[in-house]
Symmetry: C2
Subunit: 234 residues, 2 copies
């Protein structure tokens, strides 16, 4: 692991262990340089990581301070995968509805930038939070990249498998969010009245080399799902 990541982790643990509150001042740069025996740039890189994660904020001419978000139980829109971390205090489970190899819909082919006659894995899953339905997920994986999937992988973590099992590097994503009314099928799965509000999140995930490999449409139960986002550098 890289030095600046290690330093970032150590500072993060330090903040956690000492239960530092919003606004607490961290040691100055020079002290951190000595403590971690490293150069200024490396410390700054570690701090930038923490700032991006929303754990600290830096004020020029003044110091480095702890930042704490005020609300709990919201899902981080940028948490780079999964609700696990945000909702770890809750009980999240996944149920597979279907897993099959098909030809993509027009929409899926467009978003995956592939031809309509190429094979894709089509996966439908439901996520539960403390027994209640959290969301309904429909995903398409480019089979020429994600060459194999089975029930176990799909019930656990597909992304972990892609990274570790297939040795692929996941790079970046695009996410599109809107609201709408639940269809009959959706309201049945989510156990909510038809035409109730839903939150729709469409995501496209790309490998580090820029190739899209996953297009997902997720419908969230409006009574269970709340999202947050931390902005930096306005």
């Amino acid at each position: 692991m890289l030095k600046y990541q290690q330093i970032a982790n150590q500072i993060e643990h330090y903040i956690e262990q000492h239960q530092l509150q919003q606004g607490s001042k961290l040691p100055v740069l020079e002290t951190l340089m000595e403590n971690f025996s490293s150069s200024k740039s490396t410390i700054i890189k570690a701090l930038d990581l923490l700032e991006k994660k929303g754990l600290i904020f830096q004020v020029r001419g003044s110091g480095i301070f702890v930042r704490r978000k005020s609300r709990r139980g919201y899902i981080n829109l940028l948490s780079n995968q999964g609700f696990k971390k945000d909702l770890e205090e809750f009980d999240i489970t996944t149920e597979m509805i279907s897993l099959e190899i098909v030809k993509p819909t027009q929409e899926a082919a467009d978003n995956l930038q592939i031809a309509k006659d190429q094979d894709v894995y089509h996966v439908k899953r439901i996520r539960y939070i403390s027994g209640q339905t959290l969301c309904l997920e429909e995903s398409y994986y480019d089979k020429s990249i994600v060459t194999y999937l089975n029930k176990q992988i799909v019930t656990e973590s597909i992304f972990d498998y892609i990274r570790e099992g297939l040795g692929l590097n996941i790079g970046f994503s695009e996410m599109y969010i809107k609201t709408g009314k639940l269809t009959d099928e959706e309201s049945e799965y989510l156990k909510l009245p038809t035409a109730d509000p839903k939150l729709i999140m469409e995501s496209i995930f790309f490998l580090a080399n820029g190739t899209p490999f996953d297009f997902s449409k997720v419908t969230y139960n409006h009574e269970q799902s709340q999202f947050f986002l931390l902005g930096t550098g306005l």
Copy 2:
């Protein structure tokens, strides 16, 4: 303006002017260092900026490539203020409904971290996109920080005024997103049936020194509003 920002801007313009497509390769680091007569770290810092903005992606051992998002007409959730940039092809206008100095609600006081007897500016506005209602906004500004507001400021850009008029440094934000059903009042303003879906976005904005100064609740018209978010470094 800082050197790395200038370089970032120039590269951005270069991409725009040459209409580079998704996946186009940019010159290698060494070439960029020569072209902009600067050190490696400065170029990398400029590229990191562009990567964060979602304009390029860097692949170690391979090169620097142009990234283009696939859809238009969505609002960037991280665009650091305003829809102007995302929706510049559309006609956005703002109408002020009310502007008054009041004592905060419990909710506003909590989010602004002030006492309930401190004064706040309470602002209600409607935003239109091509004549249709886009959203309904209710904001509270800590009057001890944002000492003055008038109709003109509120109809134009409050944030520009805070930055330039008051000389304050805006730092970071927290945003919370959920869905719900429109109330009678909201549906009247948004010209949609009562109980139709709405998207609620609550934001808290902080000065660079960590003090919250603005708490806003925005209700979006579900037929007009679509958001996007670019993820990096998964």
